[in-house]
Symmetry: C2
Subunit: 347 residues, 2 copies
């Protein structure tokens, strides 16, 4: 608390600036900027209890909890978010925790399922989401998927700070993919921090650990922590009036979500087919409307345009064959390739 007070005293413009940037209708839109000091970073594991790489990575970083990175560093907080589901090795107990974080739902006292209550606790711990200065400046939420995404970062299309970090991570590991949430208040856990991202890693079977993807993730999380310190360091020099060429502009390739593609089903909602073998495992690979996307049990095929209206020449499927998406009737998501100019710290 003392620290937080000091921050406001030393940087009186901070509170005002963010209040001015935030519209009353969009209290969730208060992402970090180059001028902001990163005071607190949260790593979250176990938001889905059966995504075990994330759970164990979280536990590993929990050992390093506390001040990180010296004078220009920050406070590292690690939270096991869905405690009961993690204990039970299940995705969730009563409700998908990662669907409980819209401002509206956090404010709704009639929502009292375990995960809905836990969302409110996490909002107190790392947010609040409607505050211009939430406790966590950046939330890194560790997930796994049965889809072959590799390491994919999911973030808000207006969060330029998270985009800069994503571009930095891509520069040290070119396999990293970036996908963007919808441009609105999202229901996802990392949105309680000022900035944040979902760190989605696959393919990892639910309930299993994958050592290779674990090692790759760990390197990238450690690089992220270095980035926050470097950011604080560059910001201080900038405040001190030093001329610095510490940021470069860079084009970041992202996938902007268009929609979910449903499974082919009969009138009783029974599956009529499977994701086509030429699509399965090929996350972020271009797809045309005329490409087969489902292999039907009767031996026929269905193309993308048999299933949905396709207006783009090419779209990019991802989160293909994610286990939990069957209950949401989603075979995969499709996105369109977009480029954003972002500022990346030179490290």
């Amino acid at each position: 608390w003392l620290k937080a007070c000091k921050r406001q005293i030393h940087d009186p413009s901070r509170r005002w600036k963010h209040l001015s940037l935030m519209s009353e209708e969009e209290p969730w839109c208060r992402h970090l900027s180059p001028a902001d000091h990163v005071q607190c970073v949260a790593i979250c594991g176990g938001t889905h209890g059966d995504e075990r790489n994330g759970v164990y990575l979280g536990r590993e970083f929990a050992k390093r909890q506390g001040p990180v990175g010296g004078d220009d560093g920050f406070e590292l907080v690690v939270v096991e978010t869905n405690v009961e589901a993690t204990k039970a090795n299940r995705r969730y107990v009563e409700e998908d925790l990662n669907r409980c974080f819209t401002c509206k739902d956090l404010d709704d006292q009639t929502l009292t399922l375990y995960e809905q209550r836990r969302a409110k606790e996490i909002n107190q711990l790392l947010g609040p989401k409607t505050s211009p200065t939430p406790k966590a400046d950046f939330v890194l939420d560790l997930h796994n998927t049965t889809a072959a995404t590799g390491v994919a970062l999911f973030l808000h299309p207006r969060d330029k700070f998270a985009m800069g970090l994503a571009a930095f991570l891509q520069s040290i590991d070119p396999t990293v993919q970036v996908a963007l949430w919808a441009n609105r208040d999202v229901m996802l856990l990392p949105s309680v921090g000022r900035s944040g991202m979902t760190f989605e890693v696959g393919p990892v079977s639910i309930k299993c650990l994958d050592a290779k993807l674990y090692a790759q993730s760990k390197l990238l999380i450690e690089a992220s922590l270095r980035y926050f310190t470097a950011h604080n360091c560059a910001r201080k020099r900038s405040v001190d009036g030093e001329v610095v060429g510490e940021r470069r502009r860079q084009s970041l390739r992202c996938f902007q979500m268009i929609r979910a593609v449903p499974f082919p089903r009969d009138y009783d909602k029974e599956l009529l087919g499977m994701i086509h073998p030429t699509v399965d495992g090929k996350d972020f690979t271009a797809l045309k409307g005329s490409d087969p996307v489902f292999s039907m049990f009767d031996g026929s095929e269905k193309t993308l345009q048999d299933m949905i209206e396709v207006t783009d020449d090419e779209v990019y499927p991802y989160l293909i064959n994610e286990a939990s998406y069957y209950e949401k009737d989603t075979a995969f998501l499709i996105g369109r390739r977009v480029e954003y100019d972002v500022e990346v710290l030179v490290m």
Copy 2:
């Protein structure tokens, strides 16, 4: 029933022969031989409710239920075995169904959990296991695993008929692997038939469908059905006194289970490491005692001989990183390579 009676009238030696082969202590050991007519074949799906390739393959073959293969054919019966778990898309409701089929447990009326009751029903439907002439002559039980087994057939080391079928399937698809159960009364569902096998296919994430492995499995199941008809046909010609060179002797490469290898854990049973990336995904690939098999969270490695006593020069791991094995504290099984001389129908 009329058919069954006719069988006994036309082949009076059958009942006696089997009674003589079966010892009173081993009523479960009554596998098919070249002299036996295959009257009834059962395909089982959904023994584990979240192994969806098996569930949907079962449903596909259910459409063909009934007489198969003409005069020399057989009755095809398809059973969705763990109905409630399949509905819930879970491995099991109260107890792993595929651990409920020892003669002792089937006989124990105090075992009344859902799966224990269902096991008794299946035993009535396809067995009984203690009968020399159970209703199903062959049980093909369709499973999936998160391990990279490809198509692996698991069967009883004394079941020469199942071995012959396995060798035939290997001849049409050389990627097929064969592993042997322990040489005793096993607790597995397919053991209620006279002969049988577990058809284990992976990697498939639990709760997911995999179209490529589905197509491969379907071809092999269809080939199995042709094999049963060809067997009946060859047997009839042999009974009729025709000289036939319809069987060839062949060496079948199998893996005989030695033991399960546990995960490294601390005193609180917490995991201390993960399956090593050089082992994960490498089912049925030779392993030496000095090879690393676990990648520890602290950065160190553990070799196979750090974990267990290894007397063989080389062993073969399989069912590596199977999701359900975490709760059984099994990282993988190891086996030894053995060769069996088997008789295979020439088709």
